[in-house]
Amino acid sequence: MSDIKKPSQTTPPEHGFDAEFDAFLREQDSRLAALYRKLPHPEPDAAIDAQVRAQARSALRMPNEAAAQASRPVARSRAQRWLPMFGAAATLLLVAGLAWRLVPPTTPPRRETAAIADTPAPGVAQGERTVPMPAPTVPPPAQPATPPAPVDATAQYRHTPNTVAAKPESSAAADNAKTDAKPKVGGALAAAPKIAAPASATPPGSAEPTAFPSRAVEQPRAKSAPPPVAATAPPPPPAAMEAETARSAAPAPELRESASADGADAMQAFADKATAGGSSFVVRPEPSAPGRYHWEIGGGPTAAPARDGIYPPDPPPLAAWVQIVRAMLRDGHRDAARQALADLRAQHPDFRVPPDLRGLE
């Protein structure tokens, strides 16, 4: 402690010259360093020494660690650079998905209508349901070329019972027509039951008309001889014919799906007209002349046909004509069907082609 008594210690250190400060430090060091060296000298534990040495050796076994560490921030920044892009892409995807879900669909209503048309109405057989519909806005054709028959021209078009099935809530006229037909069941109309009301319209004790729709349902795809298109069956047709009738009456699935709501409405009106007089028609292939079809119109209460012919060339009533076109298509006579449709359009310029036949135009 002798250095404490040096005169230099009385010099104020605030004077701030480095030399003086160094002297001050030396003086302080000399006194405090001696005291500091008397403090305990702790050292790390042996376990810590072992850990540090082991870490140093393990680091040598990974020579590329330093390089990896150096490149790690770069990789991190690269990933961070992509984050906004990922976020933008995810947002875009989300917005597109929401927009796709929120845009009102254009075709589903039509699909729903078709689905409704395909759904069997309670109490109505499937065979009836699938009978094709004529065009909606068909005016009652006058048929000037043909002599007035016991069945008026408009009555021919009233026979499309599937329309009733597809649109149970249709016009009151259709309901009235059906209601009116029911009291006649026990009368002469019982001989020609309408498909629209198969069970209730069948005469008591007559099994065949009652079985007709159900059999048609049971064999909707029966492949038999070229079937007639029978909208009604004054005489009980053979079983094969009935099945084929049901099958031919059902439009092709793709065509059925294209049926529109307005078409169904118009077809309902047509069915009302067709069924009002209890008239019916039958279309069947002419065995002796492929591509030709025999048609006949029932006379309502009378069993004998009111009018018949072979098309071509005999022009049938409009409803039968449409069925002939469909039968031609079904039987593979596409050119004949196209020609028949053209003839029909020429004969009935106001006729609106059904959706399932528009491809022929």
Binding site: M1, I4, K5, Q9, T10, P12, P13, E14, F21, F24, L25, Q28, D29, R31, L32, A33, L35, Y36, K38, L39, H41, P42, E43, P44, D45, I48, D49, Q51, V52, R53, Q55, A56, R57, A59, L60, P63, E65, A66, A67, Q69
Partner: protein, 183 residues
């Protein structure tokens, strides 16, 4: 073992893959480093953790080591940064009023100085208490000076402070320690 090599040469040898060079380097510097850390942070567990962390960082940075300064300075710089981070989480710095008060004690008459009257044991105890009571920056500078015998420039390099700042911190540190020894 490389005992004739300098600390810097040993570190370069270790960076080249010489594990024995590291052992020699570690044996030379472990005590100095450990005491610096232990007297900077009073808790031994914390000191152990910081000590190991210091060496871990030195090991991982071996490839980037360049002989631009003494190895001990580089190692103490790592330790100092860790210590400062720890100290900043624990306690606030001393305010200016306290420092000014301590500065006034520098011109204490010689005969009143505590070293003259206290026993060695009592002086060591008071020195220890004084070290613990120092503001962190002053204590770090004092320890770097006393434990590692660093110059002002080296202390400035380790602590990242300016030359005058280091002088001021040391001056305050000496003054406060003298005050505690005089109590």
């Amino acid at each position: 073992m490389g005992t004739g090599k300098t600390d810097e040469e040993l570190m370069l040898a270790y960076a080249q893959g010489d594990a024995l060079a590291f052992d020699a380097l570690y044996a030379r510097t472990r005590g100095m480093l450990y005491r610096f850390i232990l007297r900077s942070v009073p808790e031994r567990a914390v000191a152990d953790e910081l000590f190991q962390d210091t060496w871990s960082r030195a090991i991982h940075a071996r490839a980037r080591y360049r002989v631009e300064a003494k190895f001990s300075t580089w190692l103490l710089q790592i330790a100092h940064n860790l210590v400062v981070d720890h100290q900043r989480r624990l306690r606030p710095q001393a305010d200016a009023d306290e420092s000014e008060h301590v500065l006034g004690l520098l011109d204490v008459p010689e005969r009143e100085r505590p070293e003259e009257v206290l026993s060695d044991f009592e002086q060591r105890r008071r020195l220890q208490l004084a070290l613990e009571a120092l503001p962190d920056e002053q204590r770090n500078a004092f320890l770097l000076r006393m434990e590692s015998n660093l110059t002002l420039e080296e202390i400035a390099q380790v602590t990242g402070a300016g030359h005058e700042t280091v002088k001021s911190r040391l001056r305050y540190a000496f003054a406060k320690i003298r005050e505690r020894l005089a109590e």
